[in-house]
Amino acid sequence: MKLVLRYLPWISLVLALVYVGERLARTESFDGQYDLRAFSQLPVSADGRTKPLDTVARNNLMVLSGRQSIRTDDGRISAIQWYIELVTKPKDSVQRRVFRIDHPDVLALLGLDDEKRTRFSFAELRVAGEEISRQARMADQIKPKARDPFQRAVLVLYQRLSLFSNLSQIQKPYLVPPLTTSKEWRSIITALNENPNDPDAQMMMQMLEAYNQDNAESFNTNLAKYTEAIDQIIPYDARKARYEVLFNQAQPFYTAAVVYVVAFLIGCFGLLLSQLSKPTWSKSLLGSMTSLILVALVVQTIGIAARIYLQGRPPVTNLYSSAVFIGWFGVIIGLVVDRQMKLGLGGIMASVIGFGTLVIAHNLGGSGDTMGMMQAVLDSNFWLTTHVVVITIGYSATFFAGFMGVSYVLLGVFTPVLDRERGKSLIKMVYGVICFATVTSFVGTVLGGIWADQSWGRFWGWDAKENGAALIVLINLLILHARWGGMVRDRGLVVLAISGNIVTAWSWFGTNMLGVGLHSYGFTQSAMFWLSMFMLSQLVLMSIGMLPMSIWRSKFAKPAPLKNIPEQAG
């Protein structure tokens, strides 16, 4: 038994690697005679970016139905299969149940409220087409913020219906590559209008026609010809598209999230056992947790690296990738803290942050392409690398300190886990991380100022997002000075650190929701709700942290003395 316990971390490491390896290497299987795999790898141009048809199919199906494949009674239909059917066999595709509708009033409007399902076909909705347009027109005249849930749902449905018809008419994406007749990507219709015999457009047309006529042999031959042509003329785009399909199928962030959850559970168990006086067990489990987190971190790193390669951009380009990156760095801080503290707490926090931010990212990227192009003024790899990455690390560190504060309060008030020794070392870590957060958030903010000065001559413009960044710097400075001045001790430090969570969440999301300023991208109504809930929860935690010491379940012999903390500054 002892031997098992000793090697458990290594065993976990191997098991996790096996799981991850299997997940990453998994490729979609296509049955049938059509070479849909090769078809899904063809590059096309959509939203200003060259990407594989696979991405187009997945993203659009995701927007319509909230899933990346269709489940039918006869089994699963992949996104690419759905897509090629959509553009070649409209009669079949209108029968596919791909429109997700949740709002009961919308269902009632369509006369579909008796159905016990949430996904409907174009054919079912077409019947009520006039009514949907009428309702959508009325909703459209209301200002976005004033619309009620029904009006929003109707508008969403209307947009999805137009997306469906646009896709089926192959206006977008641009399917005709710049091979022989043009230097630009074109839509099939544009290309054929210019010249009905355009060879580039014909190649794609022949493929689609073959599918339409159920001629697998002709489809595959044409596809092979087509693939050869793009490999020769646009090899870079062709290769990148192939990698992107691999990336889509591997879903590294999903895999990492699964491993973080397992790590979290094992870690909690380990922490519990340490209370039940089973130190060997506890140590072994906590070690396993660390192995798992390392594996998940590696997978997440691979995912981020793949995105960097595919986009040709630094890791953070939008809210989605900021969540992935904040989590990634949070996990690293967690592992460092874990090494310093040997309590398991750093690792547990790392797994929570890793999983939590990936869930947030999933919801932020829920619809559409997460690798979209950048607005002109943001198009600067240098500043994206320096300013955005550093400021995101600052967010990450401030959050980390905040969540360590949360764990201090929760463990201290509700469990006897925190003795004096552990409490002290946790406080030290909070303090250290806040120092780090102060430096990175300050440097990140300053780099943003320099970028602003370079691009429109104003180092500081008091823009909402700039102010948000300044708030993070200010709250960290406030905490440090309050500590140095002896105004707060351990408890005060953690309660203030939790308030850092509120400020950071505000700066990360809240400022985008005001709808003013350069940074106001990505507003969603539900995000507003969750943000408020999060802030509220942190306020509750701060109040819990301020409960009288006598009802804390962890009994500290006496407050930690101040002498180990750097003395007053100034």
Binding site: K172, A376, W383, C435, V439, F459, L478, H481
Partner: protein, 390 residues
């Protein structure tokens, strides 16, 4: 004795209180931007001694109506207070020790940073230069203020221009006179931001107020001030003005940023031309726009890049060269910086932002100092602390 005075000023408690007040002010100044233009907010909140904060900004009107405001120290007050606190702290506790070098450098940097924002606030000037392709411009417009220009073109060589700034237009109740003009101008209504209604729109009581100039049958109505930082949201001022010859009214006009053409005022058989325009500053150099480019991503309306190919001529400095100004690549010339800011409809011309900020270098220096100081301080203090490991 001095120490006794300085001691309370140097307190860390005061520092923390000032940080807390600053956090509240910055938050309020952010939320206020939802309703007010960013420049109004910056002046009211961050460059003021005191600010009246309407508490409604914290709560949506849908949830509750709060008819309540508080007086709060403005950015200027807090900045100066922080500087005093910091200087006092160093005066009281000054010790030049190697391990305190980090803190000293950081704090010197902070003071410099505050000074920099002060200089920017009071000395920086921003303006726009709008140029159509193939045309040349010699002046910069400040879209945050406007002026009424009255132009006498009777001299074939030089125009004679009398300019009345918006400060006077918006406040003067009596007719405005000038020794070079044979008439007076009375502003009957001034609008900081406005829109123009056509003959077929419902003009209400404003119908038929205008009897002269380019806007007969039109009406101007006031609009709320523009909000946000976005360059597209610019206040477009308009005014109703009546021109008098002595006591005798000659005509009532609308002057407006919306009216591009000059409006004629004929007095004693002599024609003067009148125009409400953004405030102009003439420069000793000229900028000629050769070509403006607006590239988009394939198949989308999303901008990939904007760029202006210009020719800069400054005879006094012996400069005559072509420059390409584009995103993140401004032109610096004669203490001014030219940035690609916007463009005219149909990509027919460019809008360059021209900034003159004598303190532009200060933030660079101060921020480097703060960063260096912090790294030094935490490097000196934190690393051994972590190594000791509790």
């Amino acid at each position: 004795m001095i120490r006794k005075v300085l001691k309370p000023l140097a307190s860390l408690r005061l520092t923390v209180v000032l940080f807390a007040l600053s956090i509240f002010l910055v938050l309020a100044g952010t939320l206020a931007q939802v309703r007010q233009g960013i420049w109004t907010v910056v002046d009211q909140y961050f460059r003021s001694v005191f600010v009246t904060i309407d508490l409604q900004i914290f709560v949506p009107e849908k949830i509750a109506n709060i008819g309540f405001a508080i007086i709060f120290p403005g950015g200027l007050t807090l900045g100066i207070a922080l500087a005093i606190n910091l200087i006092a702290a160093h005066a009281v506790r000054f010790k030049l020790k190697a391990k305190r070098m980090g803190i000293i450098i950081t704090h010197l940097g902070v003071i410099l940073l505050l000074v920099g924002e002060f200089v920017t606030g009071f000395a920086a000037q921003e303006g726009n230069m709008t140029i159509r392709e193939g045309e040349t411009s010699q002046f910069v417009e400040d879209v945050r203020s406007s002026e009424l220009a009255v132009i006498d073109k009777s001299d074939p060589k030089d125009d004679l221009v009398v300019v009345i700034p918006d400060r006077i237009l918006s406040s003067r109740k009596e007719p405005i006179s000038h020794s070079l003009l044979p008439f007076t101008i009375k502003v009957t209504e001034w609008m900081h931001n406005s829109t123009i209604l056509g003959p077929n729109q419902d003009q209400g009581s404003r119908k038929g107020l205008v009897d002269s100039g380019a806007a007969i049958e039109y009406a101007a109505v006031p609009m709320p001030r523009a909000t946000g930082v976005d360059g597209a949201n610019v206040d477009a001022p308009s005014a109703y003005v009546t021109v008098y010859k002595g006591e005798q009214p000659i005509g009532t006009y609308i002057v407006s940023a919306y009216i591009d053409q000059l409006q004629a005022v004929v007095v004693d058989g002599r024609t003067y031309w009148m125009e409400l325009r953004f405030k102009r500053t003439y420069k000793p150099y000229s900028v000629h726009l050769i070509d403006f480019k607006h590239d988009k991503f394939t198949g989308t309306q999303m901008a990939r890049n904007y760029s202006s190919q210009i020719r800069l001529v400054d005879k006094g400095r012996n400069v005559d060269r072509e420059v390409l100004i584009y995103m993140n690549h401004p032109l610096r010339h004669a203490g001014e910086t030219f940035y690609q800011a916007s463009f005219l409809q149909g990509d027919t011309g460019t809008v360059l932002q021209v900034v003159q900020n004598p303190g532009w270098l200060i933030p660079y220096v101060s921020c480097s100092m703060v960063t260096l100081g912090m790294l030094l301080h935490f490097g000196i203090r934190l690393v051994p602390a972590l190594r000791r490991r509790a």
